[in-house]
């Protein structure tokens, strides 16, 4: 469904991404793990065409995009097919939870207001936030804010959901409610590309795992192969760090 070929991104002389290629099939859940600063966020932002890459090709079904110069039309077309969930939620702080979703549907997708409002209410029911629909983001807990952000990303029924460490800005006791929402989307067959340090969640949901370090995919494979039997020292060391102590394997 989506294929990225030879993606390179430089920040000055820093090679944030160095010839990354990957493919995701419809209904597949791919997680990306790897050390901080390895290029995970950059990879997700590049796929959503939020910044021009130095080099790379993106194929999204029939869309074929030069990631260096995507052009306005293709850029908007790709972004409208992808839902993006950020580490820090990034809700519009001047808008209520419901308005956040309505705005995305009206101004991002050109829906009529009435349809957008109906869809927003439905999306909020899905994440169990109907009672918070008129709250402002500053009035939400981290878990509520991230569920609202997921509702906003999902309201237009995207083909692909991208999540950048959706639980890592949350207090540990709040990760569960967000993980539950992600779990439900997974069981509904949603195609996902997720960066997470939550190895248990990755192990539970993902079909495949990519390990990204220094801008390269250093290891890739089925989830249990990579997590139980890392082929590189880097992956092993990384897993060692993020796994709760006293546990091995899954």
């Amino acid at each position: 469904m989506i294929r990225v070929t030879d993606l390179t991104k430089m920040y000055g002389s820093l090679r944030a991404l160095d010839g990354v290629s990957l493919a995701i099939e419809k209904g597949e859940i791919v997680t990306v793990i790897g050390p901080s600063g390895g290029g995970k966020t950059t990879l997700l932002r590049m796929i959503d065409l939020l910044e021009p890459a130095d080099h790379g090709r993106l194929q999204f079904d029939s869309l074929d995009v030069d990631m260096h110069r995507p052009g306005r039309t293709k850029k908007l077309a790709v972004r409208r097919r992808i839902g993006f969930v950020f580490q820090q939620f990034n809700l519009f702080s001047h808008r209520t939870v419901r308005q956040n979703i309505v705005d995305v549907l009206c101004f991002g997708h050109g829906w009529p207001k009435r349809d957008a409002e109906a869809a927003a209410d439905e999306a909020l029911l899905d994440v169990d936030l109907a009672d918070k629909r008129d709250a402002y983001p500053a009035e939400l807990s981290g878990g509520q804010a991230q569920r609202a952000a997921i509702a906003r990303a999902m309201a237009a029924r995207p083909d692909l959901l991208i999540l950048d460490e959706p639980t890592s800005a949350l207090d540990p006791e709040l990760t569960g409610e967000v993980a539950a929402v992600i779990r439900r989307l997974a069981s509904d067959g949603m195609t996902m590309l997720m960066v997470t340090h939550h190895v248990d969640l990755a192990a539970e949901l993902a079909d495949r795992v990519l390990v990204l370090a220094d801008g390269r995919i250093v290891e890739e494979g089925f989830v249990h192969d990579v997590l139980d039997n890392p082929q590189t020292d880097r992956t092993a060391a990384f897993l060692e760090r993020v796994r709760p102590p006293g546990r091995s394997g899954l």
Partner: protein, 238 residues
């Protein structure tokens, strides 16, 4: 008699209030749209940053008194010369000095508002802009739906200062014989020979006016408190 002087002063000053308000409101309203747009450009592009910076610095460093005197003595002759050369039939010297005062105050207010909105636009979180882009907003929509409303909100406290500053600047219009509050207080002093009362009443009038303006802005800003700090923030303040 002091009581008499007091009444005379108030009677003289109050008719100057509408002009003081006009000298405040008109430049402010005129400068708002260009101030927002130039402030936005100043917060973004490099070229726009330097061009608007030159303008802002110029008007910040010129004493307003000097600008007023210049506008009052030189500008009319300049315009008259221009009108003669072009064969226009306007009588430049018949133009009310109020317009010259408005022009000077406008240029100064514009400089202030460019700075107010530059900082307001810079305060809009880049992450929310990115979220709007990721959701498929066109750049014009990002501006209208995210940048502009947030910048309006962030600008309010500094806009209040700029407005109060404008009220104070407008007092200098008396130098152009514009009969706003200060000019009329001087007239009252001439009538009663009681300068203490005349300027005392004037001072109170400005304090009251600026207090009302500040309170109005506070009221508007208060409505945004929930968005900035949540209900806990509002509770913390009361």
């Amino acid at each position: 008699m002091a009581a008499n002087a007091f009444v005379t002063t108030i009677r003289e000053i109050i008719p100057g209030l509408p002009l003081t308000l006009v000298l405040t409101a008109v430049p402010l309203v005129l400068a708002l749209v260009p101030g927002v747009l130039l402030g936005y450009l100043r917060s973004r592009g490099r070229l726009a940053y330097y061009l608007t910076g030159a303008y802002v610095t110029l008007f910040r460093s010129l004493p307003v008194v000097l600008q007023i005197l210049f506008a009052y003595s030189w500008l009319p002759s300049l315009l008259a010369g221009l009108a003669a050369a072009r064969g226009w039939t306007v009588d430049v010297f018949a133009i009310s000095p109020v317009w010259y005062a408005i022009a000077v105050l406008f240029f100064n207010t514009l400089a202030a508002l460019i700075e107010v909105y530059r900082s307001a636009f810079s305060a809009v979180p880049a992450r929310e802009v990115e979220a709007a882009r990721a959701a498929g907003f066109a750049e014009s929509r990002v501006f209208i739906q995210v940048r502009l409303p947030q910048a309006f909100m962030f600008a309010l406290p500094n806009l209040a200062s700029a407005t109060v500053n404008l009220v104070r600047m407008s007092a200098l219009a008396y130098l152009m014989t514009v009969p706003e509050m200060t000019g009329r207080a001087r007239m009252a002093a001439g009538l009663t020979f009681d300068t203490i009362t005349a300027y005392g009443v004037l001072l109170l009038a400005y304090v009251a006016l600026c207090f009302l303006i500040d309170s109005a802005y506070d009221l508007i800003y208060g409505r945004f408190m929930r968005r900035l700090h949540g209900t806990a923030g509002v509770r913390g303040l009361t």
